[in-house]
Each structure stands twice: as structure tokens, then as C-alpha cells.
């Protein structure tokens, strides 16, 4: 199966290890991966802040980069969700709307692709830790993807997955919200970190770079001994 990797700007800049793990997991499943070089950022920072025209520029760039792909797979529920918003950005432009719809229809979040398209739930991963999982809002509510990460994590040998209190509450990232509304975002991420701590987990797993950057940033600032990992890092682990 031929897939195009949409690595996301956060993945490319900060979370290359997770991106590499994702590539290796997918290759092991027999996928032939390409990396369209025109890809930059999905445009969500501009879109969510109200800068529609700037978001359109980013979207056109991404649509052009990915229009010939068969499947687009990304290690972020939120960025996949943004691709699904593309048709709405071009309501007055039939040509771009059609292209946007095609791109949106073939876009999948990493775990969603493995479980729903490849039909695989056990990746043979081994990871010895007590962990809990942070459900990203956009993956859960925009992509409506709630089960795939758990199906895959439940088959990881050695992984004890602990339930997270108020898992449905946002971690306080919200893109530019995290810097525009610092005092509110701080309370939200603190409550999230407190719930993570209460589980007794050593590792927090998430499938979204934005949430990861926010929660890890706060955990590290507070000096808490909890590691924060992208789900691809767990699923590619063999020890």
C-alpha cells in the first residue's frame, strides 16, 4: 500500500524520533512511504486564530503537495482534523474545493490508519511501563477517533495502561490559545498534570504533537518525573 507521510511541522521540527518510529511501524506493515517535499504546516494556527486568508495559503500549499497521494497518514489527530476542514475553506472556489475534498477524504491519523484501513491491532510492540493515555480533543471530537489508540496500546506487551480521570477535558493547548490565554491555559494544563500524576503512571502517551508539547512543557517546568511520549514511540518499541 502506498502512503504519503504528512509529518506535521511540530513533528518535523521537534518530534523527529516519533516521526521516524511512525515510518518504521508503517514500513513493517508493508506500506510504501513517500514524503511529499512541498509539505509545510496545515495552517491551523492561522485558521483557529481567525486568519482565514493566511490559512488558505497554507492549505493550498498542502493540497498541492498531497493531491496525487493515495493515502495521507499523519502522527496528529489535530492536523488530520485540519485537513478535513479544508473543503470549508474553499466554499467559494469550486476548483480548490474539489481538490480539498479529495485530500480530506484520503487523510488518516496514524493509529486510525493502522486499525481501520490496514485492519491491524497487534503490532508486536513491547514496552515495559505504567502509562496513561491523553485523548486529544480534535482526534476525539473532530475525527471521531476514540478507539484505535487503545486497541493498539492494549496489545503492547508489558504496558500497563491506567485510566485517566477527566480524560475528556482539554489539556489547555488549543494552538494560539496557549499563548493568548496563558492564565487559563495554565490552570487547564495543571489540572491535566494533576490527574496524570494521580494515576501513578511513569509515562503519558498521546497521539498529538500539540498536546504533547503543552503537557510535557508543563511537566518539565514543574520537574515532575513523568515522561511524555508520542504513541508511535511506544508502538515501535521492542523492549
Amino acid at each position: 500500500m502506498k502512503i504519503s507521510l504528512f509529518v506535521t511541522c511540530l513533528g518535523e521540527l521537534f518530534y523527529q524520533e516519533a516521526a521516524k518510529d511512525m515510518v518504521e511501524v508503517l514500513e513493517r506493515l508493508g506500506c510504501e512511504i513517500d514524503f511529499p517535499r512541498g509539505q509545510i504546516c496545515c495552517g491551523q494556527p492561522a485558521y483557529n486564530s481567525g486568519y482565514r486568508k493566511d490559512a488558505q495559503k497554507a492549505a493550498k500549499q498542502m493540497i498541492s503537495a498531497f493531491e496525487s497521494s493515495e493515502y495521507i497518514v499523519t502522527p496528529s489527530g489535530s492536523c488530520a482534523g485540519m485537513f478535513k476542514e479544508y473543503p470549508g475553506l474553499f466554499q467559494d472556489d469550486a476548483t480548490w474545493h474539489e481538490k480539498a475534498q479529495k485530500v480530506a477524504d484520503k487523510t488518516y491519523e496514524f493509529t486510525q490508519f493502522i486499525v481501520n484501513v490496514l485492519g491491524v491491532e497487534d503490532l508486536g510492540a513491547v514496552y515495559h511501563a505504567k502509562a496513561t493515555y491523553h485523548t486529544s480533543c480534535h482526534m476525539m471530537r473532530l475525527l471521531k477517533e476514540t478507539e484505535s489508540p487503545f486497541k493498539l496500546l492494549n496489545n503492547v506487551e508489558g504496558l500497563e495502561l491506567l485510566p485517566l480521570e477527566n480524560s475528556y477535558d482539554c489539556c489547555g493547548f488549543g494552538g494560539t490559545f496557549a499563548v493568548k490565554m496563558v492564565p487559563i491555559s495554565e490552570q487547564m494544563v495543571d489540572e491535566k498534570v494533576r490527574h496524570v500524576e494521580e494515576t501513578g503512571a511513569d509515562v503519558l502517551i498521546t497521539a498529538d504533537g500539540g498536546c504533547l508539547m503543552n503537557i510535557k512543557g508543563r511537566i518539565d517546568r514543574k520537574g515532575k518525573p513523568i515522561a511524555v511520549k508520542h504513541i508511535a514511540q511506544i508502538l515501535n518499541s521492542r523492549s
Binding site: 509545510i40 481567525g50 486568519y51 490565554m181
Partner: protein
């Protein structure tokens, strides 16, 4: 007092709220408590079938009503008038108040009782009637407490005094109403009840809001738990119901669906203790009910949303399900919004009704987590409407100039691969002076706001594209 709460700027209100540890605990407890109740009465209640079907039916009824609003408003008012009631259409809060003042003056009314109503808060009716010598007595328990406090305002559209605890309530009633008992809720309630008995008996006018007008019969439906609305609508000979322009349903069958959606979503009740339906029966044969019944229908800026992408915000039935799941409301409570309409729906409605100058910051008080959209029983796409408000805010030039410049730069950067390549290659070098132990604690420029409370990740040293190229070798599309 009307719709606006307080004079402080947004961030000062947020700071005040974040300092109020009792209020915050109370919001969190309320959200956590209501969550289970709501689930049990909605998707968890097998007796009603699929909750999603109910939501779809509710959305359909609201959409149909709003799309044919002229028709149903006319039907409602014709039927109301046919039975001897008086209907007044008020374009503004001032017009609504002036009409009600004139009714009060004609009756020489000194005392009015009122059941809980958000639209009368919105238009500032209590103050308007006080100006003509008529005192309005709040009879909903929570509103009664807030009124006793003098100047306190609702912090939740369904549970207005959510920000107060029982000892605060005891102190208020001691100081303002001569209460001398304990802070036991039963005792406090019994006191309020005994005080309100006389008030009900001596009212010259009864005032209610309107959960739903029923067009086919010209009726006003009130969804309550305390029974006070029944007292308000039974004693006085003069009755005034104030209705937001959009708050009606075509038929009783539709009402059945909407009352289910409202009580289940708002408080997790299958049905509220009272669903009171009042229809004018004014005439010589009439023995029960008011001798004089007025329905005041308020636009108050609602028509600005008609025909726009915000029209579905008018589908709202004020259940506060979105407020009850909002993680921002959870921490800042209601007053920080500076509007009597708080939470996600408040952040959508307030700028429509009161403008961007006053309420333009509210749509940004959301992480766009979409919990609101998921909770809404009539499927208003709340988080999308928040984004739409942000777009208008930017287009109309309210946004910060440095943010505009940054986003223009973003637009260019995100559509110019050569620039992005330079940026990703240069990032580790650029960030190097700020990096300590793998992350940035005190970032420059726009990163500063991020690093105020969190670490910023140091850019990875390895170039992913280079790694991928070497890893793959030979795929033509990688060139």
C-alpha cells in the same frame, strides 16, 4: 444592569476568577456531578432510544422554526391575541422596558413577582420597573439570593447562584433579610419560602420569561423545578411574559421533544418538576388566570444573526449543556465572561447581541476543544462559530497589529517551501543560545508567552528530511 457584568477588562476579570478558589471548586464539582446525571438521562437512558436521534429531531425543529420565523411568530401572536392577550414586539431592550413600564404605570403597580428569566436580565427589566416605582421580587431561589445580595449577577444560565456557597448565602440573608438560622440548605430554603409567600400574595403583576412559545395555540411554556412560576402566573391579575424572539416551537408535539432535550441536557432530569403552560383566557367567561396578559417579544439584536452563519446560534434552548462541559468555564466561572450569557454559548451570543467592541475577546476564551459542540442538544456547531467570530474580529481590524503581522508572515512561510527549509535547517542554530538541558525555559519574542509557564522544546538536531532521504533512497517523489 442588563447583559453586561462588571466594568473591568477581560483579563482582570479572569484574574479575579482564578483567585476565587471556592468558586472554582464549586464549578468543577458542578460539572463533574452533572456529567454523570446527564449521561444517565441521555445516551444512558435506554427507554428513550438513541439520544442522537433526539438531538437530530431537536435540531430539525429548531432549524425549521428559525427558517420560518416570521410565519410562526405571526401564528403565535395571532393565537395569543385571539384569546384576549396583548402582544408587543420590541426591537430593543429599551422598547421592551418602556412597554412594560407603561403597563405597570397603568395598573399603578407597586410590586411584581418574577420567575427566573434570562431575557429579563438581558434587558435590565428590574431596574426599568424600579424607575417607575414598581419593585420586582425575584422568586426563583437562586435569583432571590442574588437579589438579596444587591448587585450580584447570575454566573450560570440555569444555576444562577452557582458561585455562592451555603455559608455565603446564610450571611447574605442574615445581613439583608433578617435571617437568623444556620447554613443548612433546608433551613435557608424554608426561610426564603416563608418570605416569598407574602410576596406572591401581594403582587400586582406576575412576570415570567418564556422557555418556549407554542405557536399553534398561542401558549407560553415554562420549565421549572421550584413551582414559583406557578405562583407568579396564578396570583396577580396582570401577567407579563417576556420572550426572546427565537424561543418558540410550532406545535405541542414539538414542545414535547424540546422539553425532553432541555430538562435532560440541563440537569439530567427526565422531566422537570413543573412544566407550566399558560394560555390567555381573557374574557367575561374567564374565571381562572390573569385578567390581563401581555406577551413581549424581544429582538434585542437577535435578527442580526438571521440569514448569517450564526443563525443556528438562535437554535439555543438555554440548557447550559455547553457551559457544563467547557474546560474554560470550569476554571474561570461565569462572571469572568462579563456577560449574563457565559461559557461557549455566551461567547457566541454575546458578540452577536452586544457587539465586538464589548464582547470581541470572548470567542478567544476557548481552546476549541469542541466539547460544547458535542454536548449541544440541538447541534449548534459552537466551536465553529467561535472560529467564525474570530475571523470577523480579524477582518474588521480589532485584532492586535503584531498578531496580524505574525500571521501574514505565517501565511508566507507556510506556502513557501524554500523558506521553510531554511527555517528548519536554521532552527537548531537559532535556538541554541536559549537551550538548556534539551529545552527552552525563557524564550525570545513570541515564545516568551509560552515559556512563562512551560518549557519549549529545543528543535531536534537531526534534519528529518535528510534522514528520510537516506532511509529511503531512490523514491522519485522524495526529490
Amino acid at each position: 444592569m442588563a447583559m453586561k457584568i462588571g466594568e473591568k477588562p477581560f483579563f482582570d476579570r479572569v484574574d479575579d476568577a482564578l483567585d476565587d478558589t471556592f468558586m472554582r471548586q464549586s464549578m468543577a464539582n458542578a460539572q463533574d456531578g452533572l456529567r454523570g446525571k446527564k449521561i444517565a438521562a441521555t445516551e444512558g437512558d435506554e427507554a428513550i432510544g438513541d439520544w442522537e436521534d433526539w438531538r437530530s429531531a431537536g435540531e430539525e425543529i429548531r432549524r425549521h422554526t428559525l427558517e420560518n420565523l416570521d410565519y410562526y411568530l405571526e401564528q403565535l401572536s395571532e393565537n395569543f391575541a385571539k384569546r384576549g392577550g396583548h402582544v408587543f414586539f420590541a426591537e430593543t431592550a429599551e422598547e421592551a422596558n418602556a412597554y412594560i413600564q407603561q403597563v405597570a404605570k397603568k395598573k399603578n403597580a407597586k410590586n411584581a413577582t418574577k420567575a427566573k428569566s434570562m431575557v429579563t436580565e438581558e434587558i435590565g427589566l428590574n431596574e426599568a420597573l424600579a424607575d417607575v416605582g414598581c419593585q420586582v421580587h425575584e422568586t426563583d431561589l437562586a435569583e432571590y439570593i442574588l437579589q438579596a445580595e444587591e448587585g450580584d449577577r447570575p454566573s450560570h444560565i440555569v444555576v444562577p447562584s452557582l458561585h455562592k456557597n451555603k455559608s455565603q448565602i446564610r450571611d447574605t440573608l442574615k445581613e439583608k433579610a433578617g435571617y437568623s438560622g444556620t447554613d443548612q440548605p433546608e433551613e435557608l430554603t424554608a426561610f426564603a419560602r416563608s418570605q416569598l409567600r407574602d410576596v406572591f400574595m401581594n403582587a400586582d403583576i406576575g412576570i415570567t420569561g418564556c422557555n418556549f412559545g407554542v405557536a399553534e395555540t398561542g401558549s407560553v411554556s415554562l420549565v421549572t423545578n421550584e413551582g414559583n412560576a406557578n405562583m407568579v402566573t396564578s396570583y396577580p391579575e396582570t401577567q407579563i411574559s417576556v420572550m426572546g424572539m427565537e424561543r418558540l416551537v410550532p406545535t405541542w408535539e414539538d414542545l414535547d421533544v424540546m422539553v425532553n432535550l432541555l430538562s435532560r441536557s440541563a440537569v439530567g432530569q427526565k422531566i422537570t418538576t413543573y412544566v407550566t403552560n399558560v394560555t390567555p383566557e381573557v374574557g367575561p367567561q374567564s374565571v381562572d388566570g390573569p385578567k390581563d396578559f401581555h406577551l413581549v417579544i424581544v429582538d434585542g439584536g437577535r435578527s442580526k444573526a438571521l440569514g448569517t452563519e450564526f443563525q443556528s446560534a438562535l437554535h439555543c434552548i438555554r440548557c447550559a449543556a455547553c457551559v457544563n462541559v467547557c474546560p474554560v468555564y470550569r476554571h474561570i466561572g461565569g462572571h469572568a465572561y462579563g456577560s449574563i450569557y457565559q461559557g461557549p454559548i455566551g461567547a457566541v451570543l454575546s458578540p452577536i447581541l452586544g457587539g465586538y467592541e464589548e464582547y470581541g475577546e470572548l470567542p478567544y476564551a476557548s481552546s476549541l476543544c469542541a466539547a460544547c459542540t458535542e454536548a449541544c442538544p440541538v447541534k449548534i456547531p459552537l466551536h465553529e462559530q467561535l472560529i467564525r467570530h474570530r475571523q470577523i474580529y480579524v477582518e474588521e481590524g480589532y485584532a492586535d497589529k503584531s498578531e496580524q503581522a505574525a500571521m501574514t508572515a505565517f501565511g508566507i512561510g507556510a506556502s513557501t517551501p524554500s523558506l521553510f527549509k531554511i527555517a528548519t535547517k536554521g532552527a537548531p542554530t537559532f535556538a541554541k543560545p536559549f537551550v538548556q538541558e534539551g529545552s527552552i525555559s525563557n524564550g525570545p519574542g513570541p515564545m516568551k508567552l509560552w515559556t512563562k509557564i512551560r518549557e519549549f522544546p529545543a528543535p531536534g538536531k537531526e534534519n528529518f528530511r535528510k534522514w528520510f532521504k537516506e532511509h529511503k533512497k531512490g523514491d522519485s517523489r522524495n526529490e
